[in-house]
Point group: D2
Chain length 401, copies 4
Amino acid sequence: MDYVNGPGRNHLFVPGPVNIPDQVIRAMSRNNEDYRSPAVPALTKTLLEDVKKIFKTTSGTPFLFPTTGTGAWESALTNTLSPGDRIVSFLIGQFSLLWIDQQQRLNFNVDVVESEWGQGANLDVLATKLADDKAHTIKAICIVHNETATGVTNNLATVRKILDHYQHPALLLVDGVSSICALDFRMDDWGVDVALTGSQKALSLPTGIGIVCASPRAIEASESAKSVRVFFDWKDYLKFYKLGTYWPYTPSIQLLYGLRAALDLLFEEGLDNVIIRHNRLATATRLAVEAWGLKNCTQKEEWHSDTVTAVVVPAYIDSSEIVRRAWKRYNLSLGLGLNKVAGKVFRIGHLGSLNELQLLGCLGGVEMVLKDVGYPVKLGSGVAAAAAYLQNTTPLIPSRV
Amino acid sequence: MDYVNGPGRNHLFVPGPVNIPDQVIRAMSRNNEDYRSPAVPALTKTLLEDVKKIFKTTSGTPFLFPTTGTGAWESALTNTLSPGDRIVSFLIGQFSLLWIDQQQRLNFNVDVVESEWGQGANLDVLATKLADDKAHTIKAICIVHNETATGVTNNLATVRKILDHYQHPALLLVDGVSSICALDFRMDDWGVDVALTGSQKALSLPTGIGIVCASPRAIEASESAKSVRVFFDWKDYLKFYKLGTYWPYTPSIQLLYGLRAALDLLFEEGLDNVIIRHNRLATATRLAVEAWGLKNCTQKEEWHSDTVTAVVVPAYIDSSEIVRRAWKRYNLSLGLGLNKVAGKVFRIGHLGSLNELQLLGCLGGVEMVLKDVGYPVKLGSGVAAAAAYLQNTTPLIPSRV
Amino acid sequence: MDYVNGPGRNHLFVPGPVNIPDQVIRAMSRNNEDYRSPAVPALTKTLLEDVKKIFKTTSGTPFLFPTTGTGAWESALTNTLSPGDRIVSFLIGQFSLLWIDQQQRLNFNVDVVESEWGQGANLDVLATKLADDKAHTIKAICIVHNETATGVTNNLATVRKILDHYQHPALLLVDGVSSICALDFRMDDWGVDVALTGSQKALSLPTGIGIVCASPRAIEASESAKSVRVFFDWKDYLKFYKLGTYWPYTPSIQLLYGLRAALDLLFEEGLDNVIIRHNRLATATRLAVEAWGLKNCTQKEEWHSDTVTAVVVPAYIDSSEIVRRAWKRYNLSLGLGLNKVAGKVFRIGHLGSLNELQLLGCLGGVEMVLKDVGYPVKLGSGVAAAAAYLQNTTPLIPSRV
Amino acid sequence: MDYVNGPGRNHLFVPGPVNIPDQVIRAMSRNNEDYRSPAVPALTKTLLEDVKKIFKTTSGTPFLFPTTGTGAWESALTNTLSPGDRIVSFLIGQFSLLWIDQQQRLNFNVDVVESEWGQGANLDVLATKLADDKAHTIKAICIVHNETATGVTNNLATVRKILDHYQHPALLLVDGVSSICALDFRMDDWGVDVALTGSQKALSLPTGIGIVCASPRAIEASESAKSVRVFFDWKDYLKFYKLGTYWPYTPSIQLLYGLRAALDLLFEEGLDNVIIRHNRLATATRLAVEAWGLKNCTQKEEWHSDTVTAVVVPAYIDSSEIVRRAWKRYNLSLGLGLNKVAGKVFRIGHLGSLNELQLLGCLGGVEMVLKDVGYPVKLGSGVAAAAAYLQNTTPLIPSRV
């Protein structure tokens, strides 16, 4: 039985879980295997090597946890910090809020730097705090690279610059859930100590792997961190890495083969081309929003996210109704507005394995729904704006036959 | 290895093979089974019963040949006719041409009634021929319900009316390849003697089943027809139908389960709703073509096909280049112009499991390609025209959660 | 690329992850969906209702964590207990050992009751401890229902009887990882407070869902338990249960549909029939081991596990070599001996979706490997013993065509 | 809905359709594609090149017909012969009988050389006929390489030797349906003019491709052959081969990708190793039959088939009951006795993607069924005989991790 069952395809434009390429679906359509046979470690070895590339790190150590992004957060925090440790954490939307909630429940001393939703992290405040912290009481900076709720991308290079400027030893922990494999991300260049993502985001897999990558400094920190942890403990993994069997507990065989296929596709297209493609589709989306006369929730261009666009609707419209109708009438899945922006924004996720015509279909659908709910949109206007941009620029697709 | 491999999905808008619903792909993802076990006959029995419904017949006998439409044509002809028999056959495009070629190579005496490509079958000529044929030398009328090359739908009810008017006993053989399960088709009401289709068309399966349905008169004719046939012989099937084992030679297990799933989906949506949906998407497509300032290859509204639209391009453009670029740049598969209309038309197939947003994506893509090749289309114009129609009418989708 | 690639099938006889029925593989072969659409909660609702049935509980509350059995353990412990709480825990093999290690690392005060590997939990000691504990310092009893490393099944009914006898309020926490859906398990009858299993065991899914079921007393305990937890916190789930959206973070869409299919298959066969089938195949396996002249690691019949048989090899043979050759030569996956019994036992997992002939193939393979490594087995002897038993008893398979 | 639905796997041991490797099932689990895009011809080109290898020909021209073996027969005959042409054809079992029936219905003058079922083709008679035929009235020799009904393999090298000895120009048409990809077959060496097979046999695909390979002499003959043919006409294919588009009508996209995967697996294992593996499993099967005290339907060792073994049961047993019970009780699919040997033999198909333990499981199952129906078999005896042989010889499996 299927619960989504209209004719034709579901148009999946939420910012996660995202569309899975058919090649990956096929690779995962298989029986279980014994993970203690020689085959699974041999496969795992290639995965761990290749996963580093999506973080742009050569010195980092990746961990593939059978968990979600929430679990990956917990792993990043508990392995590097001790209860009571002071953290500076930026609150700019629902997902940074949830991470902060987790940080507080894990008994860290969280110094929350809040911005209006739609703005990026306030890095001036960071500079001030670091300047003041001669005693190095701040143990870690926690920042969401891309806030999925508002479509805001923070500038990590600047964060690193500020840390370096003050020669501050705080660890830099980054949530790359809706950025890695889609936005420019450079773990080594930016001195990120722990970066993490989830398999169901730009990697385009099902939910089920929380990928955490730790710098040598983070690994070192994990040796003395006193937070209680077992399932999320890096130590158990490191022990099995040394044995060459890799898995302290049963991995999902299907996700391992899926990850192999997903990485192969990424590298075939070229990670940098993938990032350019995301920018291309995001730009087209933003032009459509503008053509509709609607506002981007993101307040400045520098923060525009290339993986998700949060669109502000006029006050007389409930954005949840847009999402509901899009799904019900047109089999189009859009993202709801969450928490502070509930009812006020709807979100178009444009990350993962997508192309021009899928986006135009989505934009055409959004236009019909906007009209359905009473917004005086000119049908075709957003599609026209997006298409004009797309048609003028050259798609980068892997050379085919 | 995959030969179509851009990011995102292929947009399949050729008039066959068409998109397969995911439920059907899943149903077919299986190992072989022994077709002589009790299970396969039990499954086959339900299929043969249910397949009659797509022909709207209660008295017909369906045959599931492991073949394509070309094979189904051959089965229809050789089982009902003898070499030298006179046939009236309508030539209105590439597929009727190919069928006529087959009729001639099978040594029938074919009376070809030709129309300009873009027009329907000339039924006035049929009336004249029948009126003249007091001796009933005409043994069969062969007509393509929907000519896939030009997007022309013939009026079968009128054909029957003419036959009845002259009380002519000629058999009525109908190619329903690109019509059945998508256009209104009534085997019993219209006195069709043999109707046929292919699995890869509106049934939305892979290629591999040629479905032929024979009226009692056709079955009777098969008993004396002298055309040589073995693989396509109905007799072998009828013998195994009686035994209750159904299969004179090995069927594709996967296609049987796929057909089961495809029929279940059709009946769940409702065959009549499916036909309405095809009309809805076809109307939207025609409005887009008009908005682009292009001509529909089909010369009169009465012939407009709801499964495929052939679009005439200006003389200075090579329509093949449109098809080539659509595929290369945008992963959009359109139909080429064939034979007489090669280079002059491109075709948008809108049959099978499709919905509004898939169509809008396709139309947006066509607009970009038109611009790419130098046609001064207003981007968004076709999408706007289609969307205006679609947004104003209510989609009929099976009630969901 | 596939890492297991001989001709024919892999014979998967490890005690997890186990074989996935084709119907379940098909159900999971799908794209992601928006888990915030109405469809996913509607599906989840049926799952939560039906999952209770495999625990045989009506009053329990199930949680579907995106994790493994290890994570499910952590969830069971941290939601019901506070650091320093006294636990009585039975050490009888590698998996109970690992759970105890987790209990200690989570800072509980663990009272370890050790048995020789191959024996069941020493319940006399439990009785003594409860008798002595007038002050009710013991907060929980932790017991593995079926120790996968040694093939030992503990008697939970007796545990409950002892607890009741002393009217002791300790919570009863049960690891049912390799028992639930395969062995008789009765959460409500036996007063189990938390029971847990993993999707890759008798449920016959991929790894990825840790299923935890909490009694009303456990839910109550969770309100005051002070162990730090976020990802594994029941509170977050309960909050979303109330909202009817069910998921505090992204579930695996594929596993949800897979779980639906797996439960449908279980209920179609009948949970009690499934349990009888496991006993049938296990009995056949034990008879084969006897026929080979080898010893079952499990020391008494009352502890014999119906999901895994650990076979002791003579001292001059390294059991790991048996496992290695079985895989390398015959594509047969057997379980290694772990920790104390490493090199001394190999394990035949006979849980999940298996039938008679799969087992005979496995037993035939084991015989060849035994001979390969120099054990003087009479080829065919184990198969004959197993077949004699199986042939004499009637298979219980769902009525088919 | 599934019609075969016991727990565990179906054990498919009919001589076709055979087990499909998981890699091939995965490769076929996909949507349709436009077969007129550049991708499908590019794929087809590799297939046509590689398909020649399974026929061991460099000069042959392969055709991939969307049909079954029956259709492939028809294509072989109608393209090379004219009505009334004299054919020598060997009747040795049900499948040669069916081919002869086809030859007669296609109006050839068939000179039937009959052998007792269980014997090979009577080549002495062939020699006599050729010696007598100074006028070369014999246009073709039709022979089934491996008669699937009786498990008899004919010696094609000898057929060629006899033809050469008499310098007779008759075409040599060979049904390789249950031999090619499993038995030694050498189209060029043996001067075979048309060889054919079906995808659902040793190629291990679903039913749906009839592969016909024509020698240059056969191609030449096709230019003047007068048999009526359209669907099965090589000319249409050859025309499209020249155009580089390959397909006169719609191929099954899924089977093309499946064929690619199947060929890749064959070449990876090595075609010669595949043939050795078939001999290995067949030898083990024959040893089991001997151990059971039953007779092989094949009367001499030189005719023993390595793809199917027909087992003669004592007169007091109905072999159909064996097949029925095997399926019903043990999910084991065996081949029925057909026509003259109905009720007298059952058949074990051991072709395609199989390994040792699958075979042992099957043999164990057959033993239980034999006992079920009252034959005094010693349980384990056949398995022991097979295992003794298998264990003593080294499996040839592609080197893995």
